[in-house]
Symmetry: C2
Subunit: 226 residues, 2 copies
């Protein structure tokens, strides 16, 4: 148990930002909801200042929006923007994958396989939060060999948003078994060093997720009136 390496490795605004991010991603804080700084301050038993910094950070990440002197509210994306998020993912992930595949080692493959196993487990266990985290981990592992720090950071920033919608509708999407297989196929194609095949498969995989999610969100919003 050498876990707690650094005594207080994260500053107060950071842990608050992490928690708030999780709350937004999990849907506990709904789209468009206005955020009252003082309420959060009391809830976390700190002053309003760390809260402000945390919100500013989330604002930079695009999860909340600051309006002049009217405070912060959870961002709400249009269907069009959601589609764009996924298109960006395709663009970036395919590029990363293409660069990564020739450089992937046996270690990379075993690591990816392991994460996939964990993912399936949490998927079946209905542990949405864990699945989301593992999903990120899997993708990072897939593209680790590309050794592109900056691109990965940008991708993470974008994936945040896509994850929000995926998790929002994961319960419904669980019926889509093919996703599991597609994940495995990607790894197999990479292992066979079939760069183009793997890339098109990845593009299709994300694209299918996009289409499916778009219809789900559209349906959801239609019923929710809003």
């Amino acid at each position: 148990m050498a876990g707690k390496r650094a005594v207080t490795r994260s500053s107060l605004p950071e842990v608050i930002a992490n928690d708030l991010r999780e709350r937004i991603l999990s849907g506990e804080l709904a789209e468009g909801e206005t955020i009252r700084q003082e309420a959060l301050a009391e809830e976390y038993a700190v002053s309003r200042m760390p809260i402000r910094e945390a919100l500013k950070r989330l604002d930079a990440e695009g999860l909340v929006q600051f309006t002049n002197n009217r405070g912060a509210s959870v961002t709400k994306h249009s269907l069009r923007e959601i589609a764009e998020i996924f298109d960006l993912r395709i663009l970036l992930e395919v590029d990363l994958f293409r660069r990564a595949i020739p450089a992937m080692t046996a270690q990379d493959f075993t690591r990816c396989t392991q994460i996939l196993d964990d993912m399936d487990a949490s998927y079946d266990a209905n542990d949405v939060a864990k699945w989301g985290a593992l999903n990120h981990k899997y993708h990072s592992a897939l593209y680790a060999a590309a050794d592109r720090k900056l691109t990965n950071e940008v991708l993470q920033g974008i994936s945040l948003h896509s994850d929000r919608f995926i998790r929002m509708h994961l319960s419904v999407m669980q019926q889509r078994e093919p996703a599991k297989k597609e994940h495995r196929d990607l790894l197999d194609l990479a292992h066979a060093r079939d760069v183009e095949g793997a890339c098109t498969a990845l593009a299709h995989h994300i694209s299918r997720t996009k289409e499916e999610l778009l219809s789900l969100v559209a349906e959801h919003r239609a019923t929710a009136d809003s």
Copy 2:
């Protein structure tokens, strides 16, 4: 003169962040330089708090780095990361351009031409800051027809960094007249609706800039020891 539309359209941290950003981009604040909050606070005649928020924002943009309790310092990119910045630009800009070209209207073309004229003027006048701003404007105008808000935002974030290095060495690069012509060629190809030709031209244009800049930065760093 209907300029000052909104009375106080920008908050204090915002104007400070803008100014600091400009100072970093212009090279007034050198790479790796540590930033003393109190010094800036006195300089801007405000308290340390707006400064902190501004720095946090720049941190989110990647222009400065926060270390635990040791404050902020201007980020310094490795040659490898600089190359990655330009590769990302290629990826994003080509995608935007491809989507934009079929949708570009006469208005778009005239607007682009006009900006190009201004750019040439500031280029010849050696006005580096203005040239940078216009460069941004030109690219935004080129991709405006794509109507991809999010992608453009991401691109802006990345271009910030590339601009930093371009402006750092613009005085040397002025000898490279071909860049002017390339800019015009891009517009002509787009006007002819030659999507693939325009995209490859754009990719080559950015790629050439990248190569040239990389050697300049490498040279600069070699002489500056550091």
